[in-house]
């Protein structure tokens, strides 16, 4: 291999992109989800429909957007609808197969916090808040989550549930009337976790090449469980890395050029 080996964050984005299929209709969060979805579109899933909450449907950006409403998304979209229509007809209407989210913190049942660190009324850190995530998590047929795994992000107890995953586990989702599957996969930067069928507790199902069980146990904020048979995820291919790095380089130049 004559390209530089993948960083952990690149490995995560590639793993996340592989989770997507060509016939998916995907509601895309900003950051790592956006990179993964566009990498999928530029590699194995050319027909994937990408939707951003700004109302852009079927968008094919040449560079990654800095915000969910960059002009690039509108310029390259099949159509752009008003924001109330996006959330009511398309998201609540049940037209989206995959919601792809990031977050500041996650717990063992894949609930997400992007609201506060500390008490709500006297927060230690005031985070941006939920945006589209609470209803993306509720109305997409299933959700994927991608975020780096460490003691600050994978926590035992969330101070605030911004986006409901599997609640307290078991049939909690269904008991609240949610008919969608919720989080079915968490693509971290060391491993992939999936909710265990009954308890819905996140369980490590695959490790990336070069990562050990101890590495994951050490970094995770709760005593994390492992599946009986643990897969090893192949490292990013040379082609995947090339496409991702080209995309990120184009993005860097585009945002830098505007700044100059």
């Amino acid at each position: 291999m004559n390209v530089k080996p993948a960083t952990r964050s690149e490995t995560m984005i590639v793993a996340a992109s592989r989770a997507l299929k060509n016939d998916d209709v995907c509601f895309v969060g900003i950051g790592a989800p956006s990179a993964a979805c566009n990498l999928a579109r530029l590699t194995h899933a050319p027909d994937i429909v990408l939707i951003y909450e700004s109302g852009t449907i079927g968008t094919r950006p040449n560079v990654l957007p800095l915000s969910i409403g960059d002009g690039e998304l509108c310029d390259t979209a099949l159509t752009t609808v008003p924001v109330p229509e996006m959330f009511s007809y398309w998201l609540q209407g049940g037209r989206i197969s995959i919601g792809f989210l990031g977050g500041a913190q996650i717990d063992r049942y894949a609930n997400l916090n992007t609201t506060v660190i500390g008490p709500y009324d006297a927060p230690k850190v005031r985070l941006p808040g939920g945006g589209g995530a609470p209803e993306i998590g509720a109305h997409c047929k299933q959700t994927f989550i991608t975020m780096a795994l460490n003691r600050r992000t994978f926590v035992d107890q969330l101070p605030f549930i911004t986006s409901f995953g599997h609640g307290r586990g078991g049939d909690h989702r269904r008991s609240l009337g949610l008919t969608t599957a919720g989080p079915t996969r968490v693509i971290a930067d060391m491993c992939i976790l999936e909710p265990e069928a009954e308890s819905k507790e996140l369980t490590v199902t695959a490790l990336y090449e070069g990562v050990t069980r101890d590495d994951v146990t050490r970094e995770c904020g709760w005593p994390v469980r492992f599946a009986d048979t643990l897969a090893t995820l192949p490292a990013p291919s040379e082609q995947e890395l090339r496409v991702l790095r080209d995309l990120q380089e184009r993005t860097r130049i585009a945002h830098g050029a505007v700044a100059a």
Binding site: G69, F87, L127, P134, H139
Partner: protein, 283 residues
């Protein structure tokens, strides 16, 4: 009918202390110039409403314009935190800020029901989340047909909606295109509406029959303010200045540095921002 006014007069005659005001724009067409005029006129005790309070609201909050904020995502998109917003919530600087926090779906629905002159919006929202525990304005209702429990939020009906658009014609009709956000709903749900535009044209020319146009008779005042959305963007006119959004993270982190920037580029000057507004503030 909309009146053509200069920006200063448009704001003076429509925005009063204590008003409920939405300066809307979903990344695109954010009415920066109008917001800066509100800061210059030292309006106080405003209840600000916006789905995505970003840099403009960070500036307005930091300059002490706002008493309360109803919102659903308060960050610098793709960059990180809003430091002035955080300072107000975490430390009460320059004074405490009441917040009413929602999710996008509920805010969008509340704008829609506001435009429809209904008292509330209903949606399948907030299921299982902590939002209803910290916001008493999120309630539940039971569907009279199916008995399903649904979320209900009060409609958004502002005293003043402020938006930026691409063009007005000489009769005061306004054309918007690109990412539309909730601007139509904000205007149609408001008592008064101020629109800044890139240009005023004799005629909109050839267009689709479905072009988004706000007729003159739903608008109070129109001001021609080229680049009035900068450093946000106007589709077809100029791109988003992403470099400014990146730089704001540093400018806004420190109170004194923030105040110095506001003095130099907003209080001491009347013309709209341009790429020069990062001069003298490099990290």
């Amino acid at each position: 009918m909309a009146e053509f006014l200069d920006l200063q007069t448009a704001i003076q005659s429509t925005v009063r202390d204590g008003d409920v005001v939405a300066l809307e724009g979903f990344t695109h067409l954010i009415p920066f110039a109008a917001g800066h005029e509100i800061i210059r006129q030292q309006r106080r005790d405003l209840t600000l409403i916006r789905m995505t309070p970003d840099i403009l609201y960070d500036q307005m909050i930091g300059m002490g314009v706002a008493r309360a904020l109803r919102f659903s995502w308060g960050g610098n998109p793709g960059v990180g935190s809003l430091h002035r917003f955080r300072d107000a919530v975490e430390n009460g600087w320059p004074h405490p800020l009441l917040i009413e926090e929602h999710a996008h779906a509920a805010m969008a629905a509340a704008y829609q029901s506001g435009a429809a002159n209904l008292p509330f919006a209903t949606l399948r929202g907030y299921i299982g989340t902590d939002h209803p525990n910290v916001n008493s304005q999120i309630r539940q209702i039971v569907c009279p047909f199916t008995a399903e429990r649904l979320a209900a939020v009060a409609s958004i009906r502002c005293d003043v909606a402020v938006i930026h658009a691409q063009r007005a014609d000489r009769n005061g009709n306004v054309l918007l295109e690109g990412i539309l956000g909730v601007q139509r709903e904000a205007v149609l749900g408001a008592k008064r509406a101020v629109v800044t535009v890139e240009e005023i044209v004799d005629d909109f020319g050839p267009r689709s029959p479905n072009t988004t146009i706000l007729p003159s008779w739903v608008i109070t005042a129109i001001a021609r303010v080229p680049r009035g959305a900068f450093p946000s963007y106007a589709q077809g006119y100029y791109p988003r200045h992403n470099g400014f959004y990146l730089a704001w993270d540093e400018i806004s982190r420190d109170r004194d540095r923030f105040l110095a920037w506001m003095q130099r580029y907003v209080l001491d000057r009347r013309e709209v921002l341009g790429p020069d507004c990062l001069q003298g503030v490099a990290a």
